[in-house]
Amino acid sequence: MASLQDRAAQFKPAPMGGAWRALWPLAFALIVGVLMQLVLRPNIDAYSSTQILNIGIAIILAVSLTIVNGFTGQFSIGHAGFLAVGGYVAGSLAYYGSFAFFGSGAAKLGMLSGLYGAPAGAPVFTGGEILFFVSLLAGGLISALLGVAVGLPSLRLRGDYLAIVTLGFGEIVRVLIQQTPQVLMSKEAIAEAPAWKVPLSVGGSLGFGNVPKYTSHFWVYAAVVITLIFAYRLKQSSTGRALLSIREDEIAAEAMGVRTTYYKVWGFVIAAFFAGIAGGLYAHTLGISLSPVDAGFQKSFDIIIMVVLGGLGSISGAAIAAAIVTYLPELLRTPETLEKFAVVGIPLLIVGFAMLGMAGRRSSEAELRSGRDRRALPRVIIGLGAVIVGLSALAFVAKRFNINLGEYRLIIYALALIVMMITRPQGLLGVRELWDGALYRPLRDFFAPRSGGRGA
């Protein structure tokens, strides 16, 4: 009769298996990043490449906030504060570090850095990139430390009150950044300033635009892959289940022995770390001048909108919504592109309605809850088709009557947001994930033979 310990030992993974599990996401991230940078980027124009970069950063932000708002159910509306802290710490380290190590604040681009790629003949890897990587991590870690500070009030506060505290945190970060002294532009100025003041000289309300511009599709999408895999694994892990239990019912979770405080603070710390990384990437992006406004509530709201739109608790939903929210207002700027979309939208609508017709009876409550909703896929397709056709029609009308749609784009965005919240309160995917079968399960159920009675 084997003891429990003996039996537990049988389940321990092989040592090399653990290493493989730990390392393959990194390898995968590297491969995706390299492909994005060396294969995709040279083949697209400058405008699209900026858009794709912004979408990547938005995905990291949205997925990180999902960990707090979606998994843990804690309502944080100061997420931009972490973004700004990470951005400023990373930016300051990289900028003044460049002066210390390389004698100037300019970026030393390697083959994988820079929004528009490195100049011809750049080395594969440079010291500057190591510095950039270290500053990114440092930004993330400092931001995570602040996550502890913000997470701790959650010991006492619940719901809206916690939300207000996080909002206050973001605002305080914003005002404090505004008070920082001007950026030191030259080696001499840095030598003259007192040592403690140098890293704090990040430009105050004028913004901090001198950060060396390392960020590229490689860095952003490698980070996106790592964030997504991390969030996915977190959701599956025991920590993730503890977080989810807090979201469902905090009191019940505590009664079941979940250390709610401990896990809530962890949720904040993890989310703050990734937001800090996203901030570092943002700070090093070409054309961006980091400013205190990036810590403000408006930026925080943008991130929340992505999370809620995607479905609270859904990683893939947040990522998709991040892409949509970043791209939609830009799309409205150029109605010509919109018109082309009608070509995609109308077939989508037809396919969706056809599937709805075939799916037959209404989906029951139980089906909706279990995710075995036969009509979910047709609905998503119809919704998507309707949105695309609606936007295209809008673009057509605008062109016909010579209205500059760009002027109204934020009004349209606001209206779309309100309508979306009223008609589909659970967001794009609800609590499900793409890989949960929101896409393929309805198809499988549709083709699978119907089992009698209550269904499998």
Binding site: D160, E171, I422, P425
Partner: protein, 347 residues
């Protein structure tokens, strides 16, 4: 705001200027200007003005929160709307009367403008509630919150359009004479200050009476206590909620009008300073105890005083930090707010 110097800050700078030494009986012990009694009085007066404005705006937040339990982020945009509507009506009336810019219009113009702004904003508040919030009565609160942000974005960007309010700050025509009624030391108490504080106080006393001494007020308190039971007791819940929105929005409009009156120049609808004003008023509601009408009045005054005193005596650049730090401290020490009751969660 970056690079922003509001009239309030300029006022504070003026009041901090050194006073001639001739009057002082004992020049050797002349305190620094910041510690003079005039400065104290001036700061007190500023705090009272700002505080009563915050209180008026905070009332709207607190009433909506008390009943629907969500933070109405579109409330600050109603304040802006009130300010801009008063500006436009005041300009129109002054033009109609054919007054030259320096002339003071007759006394009834001010109240009329206030009334028009309040009624218009009340109607708009009603419409917003019916179209945007009512369909979400049973939805999760986060959805209602996002909808509120959507409404806020909508109002801001519509107001910014060239044919609505435009993107430039404008000045409201002078509605009151600039005369000084009372002078204490270097502190001038103008008619304007009295009107601003007086209007705010009258409106607040009116609201207090409405909430605690009328049938409607009792219905509002009942709905805020328990929506379902109130409905079962025969209270028309939807109507009460609508009326709450109308009252909150008209108070916001009054706040906007008084804001325009005291700072003359009004910034464009999407300016971030407006959102900050709304946030501070909201902080005031929370500090006083959200859902509590008297708490909002008290919180408004407290936050206004804190901001103005911090600005005068500690560091003017950090005035927003005091407000938000006070918020965090109050919530940590007394999570229900100063006048609020701590709620115990039952299983």
């Amino acid at each position: 705001m970056p690079g922003d110097s509001s009239p309030r800050e300029e006022l504070a700078k003026l009041s901090a200027r050194p006073v001639s030494k001739g009057h002082s009986p004992c020049p050797r012990f002349l305190p620094t200007p910041a510690y003079r009694v005039d400065t104290l009085l001036q700061t007190l007066k500023d705090g009272l003005t700002i505080g009563s404005l915050y209180a008026l705006i905070a009332l709207g937040y607190t009433m909506v929160y008390g009943i629907l339990k969500f933070i109405n982020f579109a409330h600050s945009d109603i304040v802006v709307l009130g300010g801009w509507l008063s500006l436009i009506t005041a300009t129109a009336i002054v033009e109609k009367l054919g007054l030259t810019p320096g002339q003071i219009p007759p006394w009834w113009v001010g109240p009329l403008v206030l009334l028009i702004a309040m009624v218009a904003c009340g109607i708009i508040g009603f419409t917003i509630e019916r179209l945007a919030y009512k369909p979400l009565r049973r939805a999760p609160r986060l959805n209602v919150l996002i909808t509120a942000i959507g409404v806020s974005l909508f109002l801001q960007n519509t107001g910014q359009l060239q044919f609505v309010f435009g993107t430039r700050p404008r000045a409201i025509p002078q509605l009151l004479s600039d005369q000084t009624l009372l002078q204490i030391g270097n502190v001038h108490i103008r008619l304007l200050d009295l009107v601003v504080i007086g209007t705010a106080v009258v409106l607040m006393v009116g609201l207090e009476w409405l909430v605690f001494h009328t049938k409607l007020g009792r219905a509002m308190r009942a709905v805020s206590f328990d929506v379902r039971t109130a409905g079962l007791m025969g209270i028309p819940v939807d109507r009460v909620i609508s009326i709450t929105f109308v009252i909150g929005s008209s108070l916001a409009a009054a706040g906007g009008f008084l804001w325009a009156l005291s700072f003359t120049s009004i910034k464009q609808p999407a300016d971030t300073s407006w959102v900050l004003l709304g946030l501070k008023a909201f902080v005031a509601a929370v500090v006083g105890g959200i859902g509590n009408v008297r708490g909002a009045m008290f919180g408004g005054l407290a936050i206004g005083m804190l901001e103005v005193f911090g600005q005068q005596y500690i560091n003017p650049a950090l005035k927003d930090v005091y407000v938000f730090a006070a918020l965090i401290v109050v919530l940590l020490v007394k999570p229900g707010g100063i006048l609020g009751k701590a709620t115990v969660e039952k299983v």
